[in-house]
């Protein structure tokens, strides 16, 4: 195909992130802001859009061989959705994938989510710099 030596010297190993919105709420601004921030941090973001089932998310994560999944959940259904997604990842032998949640999550739920194997939880006002830094640290 196109041979341009200078342009192919981009770093070969890219962090691949699936950004998905499980559940029924229709607000994807936060997910888009995060997707854009990760893009600007040099990551490859696979954006899947609204109303994804846990099965759809796990399947996309497998096909895309992502390093990280970012879930945006504003509906309050995180305690139902997160364990389902973690189980499916396990069933697919994708235990290496780090899962982050952004959205509206009450403080008391955070320890329980971490116990399930979620790597990080971010509420309103979280800085995208922190998210980028945490992702880079998690996939090292």
């Amino acid at each position: 195909m196109v041979q341009d030596k200078d342009q192919t010297t981009l770093p070969d190993k890219k962090i691949r992130v699936l950004v998905a919105k499980p559940g029924l709420d229709g607000h994807d601004r936060g997910a888009k802001v995060v997707a854009r921030a990760l893009r600007d941090a040099g990551m490859e973001v696979i954006y899947t859009g609204l109303r994804q089932t846990p099965e759809m998310i796990a399947e996309a994560a497998l096909q895309e061989d992502v390093d990280v999944i970012g879930l945006s959940i504003l509906s309050g259904a995180h305690m139902a959705l997160a364990p389902r997604i973690m189980d499916l990842l396990k069933a697919n032998r994708q235990t290496n994938v780090k899962v982050f949640i952004g959205g509206i999550v009450p403080d008391e739920d955070i320890p329980r989510l971490m116990e399930m194997g979620i790597t990080g939880v971010y509420g309103p006002g979280a800085s995208t710099e922190d998210i980028v830094k945490d992702i880079k640290n998690a996939v090292k």
């Binding site: 195909m1 030596k5 893009r39 600007d40 990551m43 996309a60 096909q63 895309e64």
Partner: protein, 363 residues
């Protein structure tokens, strides 16, 4: 190698992981490609290209549903652009392909273009090869939203669809060289939008103006063109007496699934034509030849850099920056200079730049 074997056994996780290795051009990936090569050459590669927002992803979604109803396994490679500044990317083609979720006979892989400018990523051909070896009968390759000259897809795919939509330009756009020329089938999507009549008319008149030629990419990207006898010209369909394909035009409304059966019929006819005319083999050979050329080029480049002293290279570059040596003189100096002795080579190389006029030194 284990990965490649599990891919042949149908393991989807291994397939996904091997695609990553291939995309990152790792040694493991390239060894696996060598191993899998003998299993390739079976799939029908369908390229889908066109400007951003014309509906490529929605169309791919619908075509995949159609091929699934025919019982064929479908792989989709969807390429979106990488940022030239950060190298990051947002790959959003899956958003339009939700209908395919949950079907084990479909595998979708998003790729970032990673600096490549022809509409595909450098590793796209290799990714397609892995899908081919894994037994996917239909592989659809969706290019980045393409403008006028991103025509690499025509070298990779057997059948190229160019997707247009109403309001994308007038009849002058339609007669420009470039992307429309590579279409085996032109799809006018969003046919429910205003302007569909004039868009179709402009594209049709472009097809009628065309001098029908046999269009096969050669290994250096130039076309083998065979002029056609007058008898074959006509209504945009293939004439039985001449083995020439006239690009077809199909209206679709992808989001409603309209025109998809007809489009799939055209695709099947094009495949049949490729086999009947012998163009299938010609295209395959041209593609393999260009793959080999590209691999050779990059291997020679690596070899060259391995044997070149960094200091000498920078000396030459400095002379180019100072404009005492032109780039083509620099190439001669680099190819014929003495890389072993960088310290003493400066005056020599400068001399060789002046002696470049002498025919004896060039060859």
């Amino acid at each position: 190698m284990d990965l490649a074997k599990s891919v042949l056994e149908g393991d989807r996780l291994s397939l996904a992981r091997l695609l990553t290795q291939v995309e990152n051009k790792t040694t493991e990936g390239s060894t696996a490609l060598d191993f899998l090569f003998a299993h390739t050459g079976r799939a029908h590669l369908i390229g889908v290209t066109g400007a951003p927002g014309t509906g490529k992803s929605s169309l791919v979604n619908q075509l995949a549903l159609h091929f699934r109803r025919e019982g064929k396994r479908v792989a989709i490679v969807a390429v979106d652009p990488s940022s030239p500044f950060t190298g990051g990317a947002v790959l959003g083609d899956r958003v339009r392909m939700k209908d395919l979720s949950g079907d084990p006979g479909v595998f979708i892989r998003s790729m970032a273009s990673r600096g490549s400018i022809g509409g595909l990523a450098q590793a796209t051909a290799s990714v397609v090869q892995v899908f081919d070896a894994a037994g996917y009968e239909i592989i659809m390759i969706e290019t980045v939203g393409a403008g006028q000259s991103e025509v690499d897809i025509a070298k990779l795919a057997h059948t190229t669809l160019v997707v247009e939509a109403p309001g994308m330009g007038d009849d002058i756009q339609a007669i420009k060289a470039g992307i429309l020329e590579i279409a085996d089938i032109i799809v006018v999507n969003k046919a429910d939008r205003p302007g569909i009549e004039s868009a179709e008319k402009a594209l049709k008149s472009m097809l009628e103006l065309a001098h029908p030629t046999r269009r096969v990419f050669r290994h250096h990207g130039d076309l083998i063109q065979t002029p056609l006898s007058k008898s074959g010209e006509g209504d945009g369909m293939m004439k039985s007496e001449s083995p020439i394909w006239f690009p077809l035009l199909q209206r679709t409304i992808a989001v409603e699934g309209k025109g998809i059966t007809e489009l799939a019929g055209h695709i099947a006819r094009h495949k049949e034509y490729l086999h009947r005319s012998g163009d299938w083999a010609v295209r395959e050979q041209a593609r393999l030849r260009s793959e080999l050329d590209a691999a050779l080029q990059s291997a020679l480049m690596d070899q060259f850099h391995d044997h070149l002293s960094e200091a000498y290279f920078h000396q030459i570059m400095d002379q180019v920056f100072a404009r005492t040596l032109s780039p083509s003189e620099a190439v001669k100096a680099l190819l014929h200079g003495n890389p072993a002795a960088p310290a003493s080579s400066k005056p020599e190389s400068h001399e060789s730049s002046h002696s470049a006029e002498k025919p004896g030194r060039i060859k």
